[in-house]
Symmetry: D2
Subunit: 311 residues, 4 copies
């Protein structure tokens, strides 16, 4: 069992949850997609996230998915999303998945929090429920949660709770926040790992600003891995070339709500899951969108081929 | 086991969940407060509602509270709040509590729904998950859920799903909506039971407009019962006299968030529960508020004494 | 010309703007209702507030209403609501009305602000635009603005900007905030005037907690005046008796949106304005509501008569 | 004077409002940037939009900007944003700018509308205030307004009000809505012009789905013009090649709030305006962002050069 730390870096893919056409959990695809993510360069996985259709699972299924993913990951780190309206539910699921070998848990603030004080108090309660030994990822995703966390609040939360080892950064715009977090560390605050979300749409800038990598989903996780690796190696031009080739699809897959159908379509086409089906409610990719995606895939392939040629 | 129907009337008290000072479930008080509510005139109970601290319970505790309340109610109807972010969780808890003998389940729309179409689609999904035989209460409480349900949308939902037998009405302002619902029935739409929430702060007007009673909490449930009974008997003046005597406290207890501490303080003072404690997070009534409540209670007692005297 | 200060106390009535049945400004009624408010005990007026239908006025009309009210007030203080989406508009209108002799201006934060930092920054900008010499009322009304101002933020704003001499307090629940403001002053922070809104529904508690009075509208402003005066004189029981007699109507008139039709109905019935008409959009009081109001008025009159009798 | 119609197509650039370093209107730059937009291929302009810092202008300045832009446009169509919290203000400004020769006015729903009925009623009121002869653009931008307009509501609004000749489409995700609008027209509904916003980040897909062009801002409006022209001519591959070359900057400039500093930086660098300054509040582009933009500009230039070479 490996735990995430304030030094964790690389790419943690937000894993999809595979279902078959009837809406039943597809256990074989769950194993296959886990392998796929690691084969394509993932350093870890994050399961039961917003894009993992977690709220559509029963409690028993949630634990089964966690157990299966952790087992299949074979010692590689798996973070589990445990956000819930109630602290009791967060505590219950966290204990269960940490016992199963999770590398940490992730919590986003619940809709309805408004003032800075409420946000800061909320994470204090979460940390109290989890105890000091469970590595916690704070998910900062106001576009979805409707809870903005100001840079000042985020700093106070990090100062108060050492068990928050990582920020899943997906504020938008958010580049200045990464710079501010790193500047505070340069001025003496403890380090925290920053992995970025938002489908990777600002990944080159984010790593250049000091982020440690990505925690997001994308139909081609090898792009995330290569951009992070190239950037870490100082080859920003190559990182950007690779990124640009995928950017039309990144942008398209990042559409709120609609993007999951795109992602599952791509993953099914690539053989990572047997079916693109989402459990209901959740629509299939409409024909017009299929055509748009296919056109993007063809162009993307051509660009990548051109990049692969000797200059 | 009695099920709620479109003809259900009277007072369903939103029950508190008693905890001891350590935050543990107080099982003895759970039985005592159940008895108390019925002794004071309740026709039924609603448990695991927003004011029942439901999100603070583990799943096991939720089922235990439901089982205990249903058992103690001895055949009187108990509605169970099952709102959750995910349909799977709603389905799981609903099945469990209906098997335990619940009279029906109650669902409020989750935060984040915006258009009419999203609201209508949401209840279609809920009904599909529950199946056609589980009596469903639609909770219309936009102040808390941030999801307004227009009169038109509410009508379409009621027309589409016969298993929605009751509306827990707590829109604000909401009197015109009650009149509109009853007018639509006069014009041919099927009847639905309307029980009103919001701490009863408009109860006389609501029953005069055609509501069937109240589904709300208050430290003196006998007020709710007497107002509904007097109004049903046509004695609106007496109903209003009783109501007016309690109105300062009704208003005070209806404060969002803060009101639960008032309610538990009153219930503990009256012996219905052993402790006013809320499970964390949840604050005790501050001393300044205790003084205000005590002053209101003294004045309320004097007014009720005057009302009891022969004119 | 009198300016409001940090010591201003009493009742500032939020004035309605009278229109005739065609939607035209009713200038005669504007003078009459101004007189009416002062005859009924107002210490000042606040015009062009949310309940004054300010957004329905053209810019020329806004200035005309301000000029007429200030002139008619004859030296008594008139505060002018100047909230607007843009700082330039706030600056323009403020300059205009201060030149006309306004006692100060009132600003609520615009919808869309989220973090504490945004709220604090907003009022810094407003103060910069107004300059240090315009007495400013900060309106804290999150139910309407959707912008909560935490007690901490409010304190920092007050510490930073001496020209904010008054808080129009209508947070809900908000009693603890009044106590916190006064406690901070006891600990050394400069004093600020606190006048309370929300239709006066918590007025007795508010003045007991240290508020200086009311800034709100109500069809019977003499209630606001008497409650504040009795409370200031230490006669809380009589203050409460008066308040309780009006409370059913206070509660009814406080309904968001719908309440203005009630208020104008009552003011027209009392002869303070010629017509209850609102400029469009804005609906007349529906017949069912008229009946409810009339019933409340009759009961209110009887209660006041009983209170007037020698004990 | 040319008016927009249901057949209007092409690119209407959302114009910036130029200020000098002191925050004063820069009248010379206003003329220069107007020329610049048309030189770069704009078919029309839209002024006083959200990205035009309209709320920071006094009423007199708003009219001056409108007059100057309309005069300088020399007969080419200029749409004027007139959104305001009150209908009276919308009516006043609309009359003024139409008298000056505007091609139409644009209105977004005000924050705070919730149900479909409220949105539909709002546009009915706007149309009533404007009268039937003022060509109206409905701005559908829920990310900014917080008012989602469902496809059904949008259809009912278009059916009810013929003077709404254009939709500024910037829902996100929004491709399916374009398809639905065109499908409804194929089934008999009157045609409406659809120009797309959102910084153009989905422009190729939007025009392929039937949009008539773009109404948005971007530092390189020639990209918008060329993509729309190539797409209209059926050369989607070339349109996409051009688009892809600019996409990293499109994405970067589309950041909410922060994007305007990017846009003004680019426009100032290109000589279209004298200064990138925003009137306060409004920050300059931070150094880290300047470096990111410069890097993108260099890469963009190289890509465009490669595209310009003979294959």
């Amino acid at each position: 069992m490996s735990l995430i730390t304030t030094r964790t870096a690389g790419v943690f893919v937000i894993a999809v949850t595979p279902f078959d056409e009837t809406g039943a959990l597809d256990r074989a695809s769950l194993e296959r997609v886990t392998d796929f993510y690691f084969e394509k360069g993932a350093d870890g996985l994050t399961i039961l996230g917003m894009m993992g259709e977690a709220p559509k699972l029963t409690q028993a299924e949630s634990r089964e998915v966690a157990a299966a993913a952790i087992r299949r990951a074979g010692g590689k780190p798996v973070v589990v999303g445990v956000s819930a309206p109630g602290l009791a539910a967060i505590g219950e699921l966290s204990k269960a998945v940490m016992d199963l070998g999770a590398a940490g848990v992730m919590v986003a603030p619940p809709m309805g929090l408004t003032t800075n004080e409420q946000v800061e108090s909320y994470f204090a309660q979460v940390v109290e429920v989890l105890g000091p030994d469970v590595p916690l990822v704070l998910q900062d995703f106001p576009l979805s949660t409707k809870v903005p966390i100001s840079t000042g609040s985020l700093g106070r939360i990090l100062e108060a709770h050492d068990s928050i080892v990582m920020v899943k950064h997906e504020d938008w715009p958010g580049l200045a926040k990464i710079s501010a977090l790193r500047a505070a560390e340069a001025a003496g605050r403890r380090r925290v790992s920053i992995l970025c979300g938002n489908g990777g749409v600002f990944l080159p800038e984010e790593v250049a600003r000091g982020a440690d990598g990505a925690m997001t989903g994308f139909g081609f996780p090898e792009m995330l891995a290569e951009v992070v690796q190239r950037a870490a190696a100082g080859d920003m031009d190559r990182a950007q070339d690779i990124f640009d080739a995928y950017l039309p699809l990144v942008r398209y897959e990042q559409q709120p709500g609609a993007g999951l159908a795109v992602r599952k379509y791509v993953l099914a086409k690539r053989g990572a899951i047997a079916s693109a089906a989402q459990r209901r409610p959740g629509a299939a990719l409409p024909p017009a969108a299929v055509a748009e995606v296919e056109r993007m895939l063809a162009r993307q392939e051509a660009k990548l081929a051109a990049l692969a040629e000797p200059a």
